[in-house]
């Protein structure tokens, strides 16, 4: 167990550059995961702050992007698990309430990993390899998981159209 070989400023600048370049994508992913733009924004801010504090642990600048996505996802998952004030209104699982209630319900009912893969693909715009890196699963598993999620969402869309 050693200390990062990367110069501190190098890593910090890479984190800042990623933040400035991709903030909307991080925010959209976090908003989808937490069902609320304010909570999503707070999670992104917190994730990057934590990344800055633990940047000593990063060895490879090339992995900054995946590491940051992973951090944001983990912060969102922990935020979802965090005990909440019982008086607050339960938030929807995907975005603010509005159109497509059937699809919204279908997405909310997806297993956690299917939902994460779906969000990382569509809201973070990551490819299969990147998603696999973030979630720690193989590329083929990403494809199969995304296919399963798409199938369920398509069924919900069809149901909404038919209604």
């Amino acid at each position: 167990m050693g200390v990062s070989a990367l110069p501190r400023d190098n890593v910090e600048s890479a984190i800042e550059q990623t933040y400035r370049q991709d903030f909307p994508r991080f925010l959209r992913l976090a908003t989808a995961m937490l069902g609320d733009a304010d909570r999503g924004r707070d999670a992104v801010q917190e994730a990057f702050a934590r990344a800055l504090r633990s940047r000593e642990t990063l060895r490879d600048r090339q992995r900054v992007g995946g590491w940051l996505w992973k951090t944001v996802v983990n912060v969102c998952l922990a935020e979802k698990r965090r005990p909440r004030d019982l008086a607050t209104t339960p938030e929807p699982e995907t975005g603010p309430a509005g159109e497509w209630p059937e699809v919204r319900a279908a997405v909310a009912a997806l297993p956690e990993r299917q939902r994460a893969v779906l969000f990382l693909r569509h809201y973070a715009d990551l490819d299969y390899v990147q998603i696999g890196d973030v979630l720690g699963i193989e590329r083929g598993t990403v494809a199969a998981t995304l296919h399963a999620a798409h199938t369920k969402v398509r069924e919900a869309i069809k149901e909404a159209h038919d209604a």
């Binding site: 400035r20 934590r50 922990a78 909440r84 607050t88 919204r104 969402v153």
Partner: protein, 295 residues
């Protein structure tokens, strides 16, 4: 075949804002202890494990080989005073934690720990609020008592809880036992005669001063200047870190001064309790709040 993308785009549209607030990120990075205050905007009563994680900052880099300059007998007696509890004993610690942030703000909290062979419970009083968290040794899941609603909220810890993970003195015990400490002589704290034991850190931060009672060798104070730990209910992936009481703490070669906090832990009690039914209940959060149900 329906295309999912347009529908998903409607569910979560592209955000209007195209730039975040990097200065806010920097502020948060420099002041992790403010996390609790930020969260209270959303949740008035919640788990305070992050605050409890401050105790992790007493962690000392344990890979040192500093030469001993003092009398070994003092170190041995200090080590014996905080020997690991026997399997059937319950360790009770009562600690007042004070911290000073790099920019001058600070705070105080009171921590009580009941650590048994199977269960643990941590009770924290901070900023007018009391939180009570407990769980099972060897697990990552636990319960937090929510007093206003008299319910337990399930919580997940960012690491598997071990007995050593929850004892703020465990790292001191380890350092003393393996010769990474030196006797720095007598001094006084609030009029009490104490012996200062320096736990050096060669090349890695943090280092700490450990003070024991000059007569009984019981723990009196741990003082350390360190970067706040990363451990919290937010499980940020840390590939290269050391596990210390209450969490994971990144090794720092040369911490920047503006990240360094001063943490002071004053022990008001450090006691080994016998394994009676009444004492075992103290380690069991469900027994401590018998009327509460899991939310």
């Amino acid at each position: 075949m329906h295309d999912v993308r347009p529908v998903l785009d409607q569910l979560v549209p592209q955000p209007d804002e195209d730039a975040g607030d990097w200065n806010d990120v920097l502020r948060r990075a420099a002041d992790p202890l403010a996390l609790v205050a930020r969260r209270r905007r959303h949740v008035p009563a919640r788990v305070g494990l992050l605050a409890a994680a401050i105790a992790a900052a007493v962690g000392v880099a344990l890979t040192l080989s500093a030469p001993w300059r003092g009398a070994p007998s003092v170190l041995e007696r200090a080590a014996a005073a905080i020997s690991a509890p026997a399997g059937n004993q319950i360790l009770h610690e009562d600690v007042v934690v004070k911290w000073l942030a790099p920019h001058g703000t600070g705070g105080t909290m009171k921590l009580q720990l009941w650590l048994g062979s199977r269960r643990f419970r941590v009770r924290k009083e901070h900023d007018g609020q009391t939180t009570d968290v407990g769980g099972t040794i060897g697990k990552t899941a636990g319960l937090s008592y929510n007093r206003p609603y008299d319910v337990f909220d399930p919580v997940s810890f960012p690491f598997t809880i071990a007995r050593t993970s929850l004892d703020p003195a465990s790292f001191v015990r380890s350092a003393l036992a393996s010769g990474r400490a030196r006797n720095a002589g007598k001094t006084s704290i609030a009029g009490r005669q104490v012996i200062r034991i320096v736990l050096d850190a060669h090349g890695l931060s943090p280092a700490a001063d450990y003070f024991v009672d000059a007569q009984t060798y019981e723990p009196v104070r741990i003082s350390v200047r360190a970067v706040a730990p990363n451990a919290s209910p937010l499980s940020v992936p840390l590939a290269d870190a050391i596990e210390l009481p209450y969490g994971y703490f990144p090794r720092m070669a040369k911490p920047e001064p503006h990240f360094l906090y001063l943490f002071v832990y004053d022990f008001t009690s450090y006691t080994y309790l016998p394994s009676t039914a009444a004492n075992l209940k103290l380690t069991d959060i469900r027994a401590a709040h018998p009327g509460a149900k899991i939310a």
